[in-house]
């Protein structure tokens, strides 16, 4: 059976690394990549996947991901999970982030808090992977969750 994976991520390098890793691990797998909150949600709404790899901070719109006018959703990944739960379209989800912290000022949340929140609120949430292009620890963490 070929595994259908959806990756919602906008960073080129991260996409490259994760795609390579996933294709190595699941050579017969089918990986779909979306780069924005909206496009990611559309995929979840319209198609079936076995697993979702999700970034936390993503652009809201898919049609303006170049240039200075990117509107980032600081908690976009979190909101995608909320939408999945609300619309009852859940699937096993792994957060892959390279941020140590989210938001600014009073809305600041640490990685640990985010993880706890997700664990508490989403039973389809599998865990969090901290990605960094300089090390490969993320692969081990991702492998464990997959």
């Amino acid at each position: 059976m070929s595994l259908k994976i959806l990756l919602i991520e906008d960073d080129k390098k991260k996409i490259e690394d994760i795609s390579t890793y996933i294709m190595e691990k699941y050579p017969k797998g089918k990986l779909t990549i979306e780069k924005s909150f909206r496009d990611g949600l559309k995929q979840i709404k319209d198609f079936e996947f076995d697993i979702l790899l999700l970034d936390m901070t993503i652009p809201k719109w898919g049609d303006s991901v170049v240039g200075g006018s990117i509107e980032y959703e600081n908690f976009g990944g979190f909101n995608i999970m909320k939408e999945m739960k609300r619309k009852n379209r859940t699937l096993p989800t792994i957060l892959i982030t390279m941020f140590n912290e989210f938001g600014v000022g009073d809305n600041f949340l640490s990685l640990e808090t985010i993880n706890n929140l997700c664990e508490k609120q989403f039973d389809f949430y599998k865990g969090l992977v901290f990605y960094s292009s300089k090390n490969e620890n993320w692969k081990t963490s991702l492998n464990e969750l997959l």
Binding site: D11, K12, K13, K14, E16, R38, L41, K42, K45, T57, K60, W61, D63, S64, V66, G67, G68, S69, I70, Y72, E73, N74, F75, N79, K82, K85, R86, M98, F99, V104, G105, D106, N107, Q121, S132, S133, K134, N135, E136, N137, T140
Partner: protein, 1129 residues
């Protein structure tokens, strides 16, 4: 341990030993200290500085030993308080006298009283604080500043005292709004260590901070202050401790109170002992006339209350309890609020409380005034009670009960409100008076008296008491039923309605009926927002979000609530989506079908405020952003019809929507800059506060022209003030200069750190988080020469081992070491860039000294702005815009520096690392060769240079937001077309704007095009589908002229000769005459006079011209507008 023996040992650090006694706790400290009381250290430290006779001695910054023991620290202070209790008792008498004098506006007497306190007892920060407020009341701000100057001279260069004095002076200033003072204090204290921060809030903004935990630190800080300051702090902290039964030092606080009660006559001590149950409360200490007055009020004898109050208030001005019955009696009697001829201060309090109890239009203003009064005289019991009272009407976020308890603790008698504030005390009541019985019955949930009292008190009150009782007894369903019946009454006053609204809301919250809570709250927010001032919207929002909107159903009210609660755009979308599901609609404009008398306001509000691009952008029913923008535009066009008075705002938003689409495309094409700062929004976000601050700055500027006045320049240095006095620098600087500096810093701070619009957010989300690391590493990684880490250990790059079979194992191993070393260098460089370089260094963040974004301005920069301000006649807008202009220029300079830094230093370092790697590998290879590896390094050198030059460095550009203020003609024409085609769908002219230019005052141009388009539709006499129009709007750089032409087809039936004559007349009038008002006003005219008027008066252009041409059944209008004046007048 024998402390006495130890203390007299020559090698003992006596102060350290004495201080260590504090760790023993309250009781033991007092026992041990008595044994060594004759030791000089006890005299000079524990009892040191109790009676300063001059100002410079108020503060001592000597060595202090932290005990972390509240009891011990209390013991340190109580030792002297008990010893000098006579002085304290004398102080309390005079303090009471002073408070009455303030309330009765007997300022001369108050000055004498303060002088007596200073002479007979001692100087204290308490007396200085009150003197500032007194002088401000008596003579105004100039005298306040004069006093500050006088005291500054006497502080002997003590910066800490200077800092305190300035805050006392500031909070007394009448013209400095409460909100402004609060904001300014929040700003000053924002980056301090928690203990010091709490302490300073406790002293200068008690209710701005939601939780206090470092009482030991507060006591330590004031352990060497005057006796008066020590006593007042002790009492205040006891109020906190006694309000929290769970506090570890609760029992200690009772012991302290009992000890103090033996020697000190202070009603606050009695109240606290009553609160904690050591004493019973009774009506015996209440003057008979006050009891009788309360009885009258309870019985509904409002006329009597009305009559009795003036005499009572003159006699007991500091008895806040008598104010409420009087004001409510006036409201019950439907009387106009009279001027009470007692004093200006009391009149002020009554007037503001009247607005609070009536919830009238001045509600917010009055709340602000009362809070200003509270902060001005924050150390006087009456104003502490006022704080407790205000806390019943506005949301003060605090987990402590100490704030509402202030009403009771500072009361001059045993207020039976105690039963409500502390229901543990509602076990017995022996008093016969109505107010005792009523409060006791409510709190103890005994319905007997309430049934009985129905014959004594008016039915309305009796019913309300029953509602209160049911609520306190947690009988929420019954309470709601009772409220329903009560609401039918026709004699309810605003305070009754507010109370039952709060009870209704809270009953639903307690019953977890969030749907009902949302409904009644949203309806109230729409109808009478002031009624909701006590409601914690965040709490309900959290409950709803936590339950994933499960407990609430889609409704107009849910959407409104999420908007009022300032929920994120995603949550507002969820609420809207739930509403759409419940109504079975897909698009917002379909809500219009649901408009009826009941829902009209709600739907219009939702369309206006909630259905914006950000919220609608979450609906997947729209395929693209363009579709969302179009939907918003349609909504705005509908809103223009529904709320014509807001036409200008809606058209402006449409224009900006058009514009932002273009701007996004422009940015996409020409600029990859990742730094975007929305100055317009920054400017608006704190406008009210900043304007108030600017007015103060102007006043100081005026005052210091002829008077010397100095403030302490504490920006970023508050912690240093608490260090050793001798090492402190001179912080005294010209007051107006410092006000200017503080103003500029606040604007700068907003520019840098504003949550939504600031620079730091941009740097964080767009550069620091991932992008930079991924781009540098990713570029090198493509060539396989950088190694990755696993468990903090760099891994070998297998590829080169596999391909290096022609080399010895040792060479391969050395090559791997070089690669690992290189990888570490790269990662260190990236780490340094992220954590040290792409950061901001400013007054607010002093730990990033190597940051590229250095906004730490030296005083010469502030002096420059200050001198400019003194010389030029700036208004607020102009000065703020001037500062923003400077910040923009400065930011552009920094960004250029950052680009250069990346293009030189970063690039050179990377090349150096790569070349060094080449060198090391060559050396290792010796006579061997490994061309693929060396070629890859070479390619990486080329590629990383390209990456830095063409990509990364280009991120450091400011995407100008001038587009926010300027609008191009493409957007202007398109907006006008949208507005016109809303009525005539087929109207789709060809628009050509090859050479566009941005203009200010774009609304005027939109109006011009709308007139031109309306003309076409009306006068071309063509069916809408046959209308053929071409618009040309091009900027001619040579003549600096905007050339507009509008060409449209004419119906064959039009008499061309007649039209030619008309157009000729228009042309003649255009060049010779001023706009004619009578023609402008003619409905159905051609509108050309209107255009001329707009150009002449609104756009402020004098040399515009008009021409026309009729050819082949087409009329073409030409309007040329000089662009020399870009700004509207």
């Amino acid at each position: 341990m024998n402390y006495k023996k130890e203390l007299y040992h020559p090698r003992t650090d006596a102060l350290s030993l004495i201080s260590s006694l504090k760790t023993l706790g309250y009781k033991k400290f007092l026992v041990e200290i008595k044994k060594v009381k004759s030791h000089p250290v006890v005299k000079s430290y524990v009892e040191g500085n109790l009676f300063p006779k001059e100002l410079s001695k108020l503060n001592t910054t000597g060595k202090k030993y932290i005990s972390k023991n509240i009891g011990g620290e209390l013991g340190w202070l109580v030792y002297s308080i008990k010893k000098y209790h006579k002085k304290i008792n004398n102080f309390l008498v005079l303090k009471n006298q002073f408070e009455k004098q303030i309330l009765l506006s007997s300022f001369d007497g108050a000055v004498l009283t303060i002088d007596r306190i200073e002479k007979e007892i001692c100087y204290s920060f308490w007396s200085v604080e009150n003197k500032f407020s007194l002088l401000e009341r008596k003579y105004g701000t100039e005298r306040n500043w004069e006093f500050l100057n006088e005291l500054n001279e006497k502080t002997g260069g003590d910066n800490l005292s200077l800092f305190y004095l300035e805050l006392f002076s500031k909070k007394a200033e009448k013209k400095l709004s409460f909100a402004r003072y609060k904001r300014s204090l929040n700003y000053d204290l924002s980056n301090l260590d928690r203990d010091l921060q709490e302490y300073l809030y406790y002293k200068f903004g008690y209710f701005f901070n939601d939780k206090y935990t470092h009482f030991d630190y507060f006591l330590l800080r004031e352990g060497a202050f005057s006796l008066v300051d020590r006593y007042e702090l002790t009492i205040n902290i006891l109020c906190e401790l006694i309000s929290d039964k769970e506090h570890l030092e609760y029992n200690t606080s009772i012991e302290v109170l009992k000890d103090l009660n033996k020697v000190i006559k202070d009603s606050r001590i009695t109240r606290m002992l009553e609160y904690s149950g050591v004493f019973d409360i009774s009506e015996e200490n209440i003057p008979k006339e006050i009891i009788s007055y309360f009885e009258d009020y309870s019985k509904g004898n409002y006329k009597s209350c009305f009559k009795l109050f003036p005499n009572l208030v003159e006699k007991y001005p500091n008895c806040i309890e008598i104010y409420e019955p009087f004001i409510k009696s006036i409201i019950e009697l439907d009387e106009v609020l009279p001027e009470i001829e007692v004093s200006k201060e009391i009149n002020g309090v009554i007037k503001n409380l009247y607005s609070i109890y009536t919830f009238n239009d001045d509600f917010d203003f009055s709340l602000e005034n009362l809070q200003k009064k509270i902060i001005t005289f924050s150390s006087l019991p009456f104003y502490k009670q006022l704080l407790g009272l205000v806390s019943f009407y506005t949301l003060i976020k605090t987990s402590s009960k100490a704030i509402p308890n202030q009403i009771f603790f500072n009361s001059i008698f045993s207020n039976p409100l105690l039963y409500i504030l502390n229901s543990d005390r509602a076990t017995t009541n022996s008093s016969d008076s109505l107010m005792f019985k009523i409060n006791f019955s409510i709190a103890s949930s005994s319905s007997d008296f309430i049934s009985f009292s129905s014959s004594l008190v008016p039915e309305k009150k009796n019913q309300l008491y029953e509602i209160r009782r049911l609520f306190y007894n947690k009988e929420f369903s019954k309470c709601l039923t009772e409220i329903k019946s009560y609401s039918q009454r026709t004699d309810l006053k605003p305070f009754d309605l507010n109370e039952i609204f709060n009870h209704t809301y809270n009953c639903h919250i307690e019953k977890k009926e969030f749907d009902f809570a949302v409904k009644i709250l949203s309806n109230q927010l729409m109808q009478r927002k002031n009624f909701c001032s006590k409601i914690n919207l965040d709490f309900l929002l959290n409950e709803i979000v936590e339950s994933d909107f499960k407990g609430v159903s889609g409704s107009f009210e849910l959407v409104l609530f999420c908007h009022y609660a300032n929920a994120s755009s995603y949550l507002q979308f969820v609420a809207l989506d739930e509403l759409f599901i419940s109504l079975n609609v897909e698009y917002p404009h379909q809500l219009l079908d649901y408009i009826d008398d009941v829902n009209r306001r709600k739907i219009v509000y939702i369309l206006e405020e909630v259905c914006n691009v950000d919220v609608l952008g979450n609906f997947l029913v729209y395929e693209t952003r363009t579709e969302v923008v179009k939907e918003r535009e349609n909504i705005l066009v509908d809103l223009i019809e529904m709320i014509p008075e807001k036409q200008g705002d809606f058209i402006s938003e449409i224009a900006k929507l058009k514009n932002s689409e273009i701007v996004k495309n422009v940015i996409k094409e020409v600029n990859d800059g990742r730094i975007y700062i929305n100055i317009k929004s920054l400017d608006q976000s704190q406008k009210g506060d900043f304007e108030n601050s600017y007015q103060r700055l102007l006043s100081l500027l005026e005052y210091t022209k002829s008077n010397a006045l100095y403030f302490a320049d504490v920006n970023g240095k508050i912690e240093k003030l608490y260090l050793d006095f001798s090492s402190q620098e001179e912080l005294r600087k010209d007051a107006a200069f410092l006000a200017c500096k503080s103003f500029v810093n606040e604007i700068t701070n907003n520019f840098l750190y504003s949550k939504e619009y600031g620079l730091d957010g941009c740097l964080s989300t767009r550069i620091r988080h991932g992008s930079l690391e991924n781009n540098i590493r990713g570029t090198i990684e493509r060539f396989g020469i950088i190694s990755k880490k696993t468990n903090d250990k760099y891994q070998e790059v297998d590829f080169w081992i596999a391909n290096g079979s022609h080399l010895t194992e040792s060479i391969n191993s050395q090559i791997q070491n070089h690669l690992i070393e290189f990888s570490k260098q790269i990662d260190d460089l990236i780490r340094d860039l992220l954590s040290e370089k792409v950061q901001i260094y400013s007054f607010k963040s002093l730990d990033k000294e190597d940051a590229l974004f250095n906004y730490y301005f030296q005083d010469d920069y502030h002096w420059l702005l200050y001198n400019d301000l003194k010389e030029a006649d700036y208004d607020y807008e102009a000065f703020v815009s001037y500062i923003f202009d400077i910040l923009k220029i400065y930011t552009n300079k920094i960004l250029k520096g950052s680009r250069d830094y990346f293009k030189t230093t970063v690039k050179d370092t990377l090349i150096y690392f790569l070349e060094e790697l080449t060198g090391k590998i060559n050396e290792t290879l010796g006579h061997h060769s490994y061309p693929q590896l060396l070629n890859n390094i070479k390619s990486a050198i080329t590629q990383i240079q390209n990456e830095i030059d063409d990509n990364i460095s280009e991120w450091f550009k400011l995407s100008e937001d001038t587009f926010q203020n300027l609008l191009g003609f493409t957007s202007i024409v398109n907006t006008s077309v949208s507005l016109t085609s809303n009525n005539i769908n087929e109207f789709k002219p060809t628009v050509i704007c090859d050479n566009d230019i941005g203009v200010y005052g774009y609304l005027h141009y939109i109006f011009i095009f709308r007139i031109l388009f309306d003309n076409i539709i009306k006068h071309s006499k063509l069916a809408p589908s046959e209308i053929d129009t071409t618009v040309n709007a091009n900027y001619d750089e040579e003549s600096n002229m905007m050339r507009i032409s509008v060409k449209n087809k004419l119906n064959d039936c039009i008499d061309i000769n007649d039209l030619e004559k008309q157009m000729e007349l228009v042309e003649q009038n255009w060049s010779t005459k001023s706009p004619r008002q009578e023609v402008i006003n003619t409905e159905g005219g051609s509108g050309f006079e209107k255009i001329k008027r707009i150009l002449t008066y609104d756009v402020n252009s004098s040399n515009h011209s008009f021409n026309s041409k009729i050819e082949d059944k087409y009329l073409e209008i030409f309007i040329n507008i000089p662009m020399t004046i870009l700004k509207p007048k």
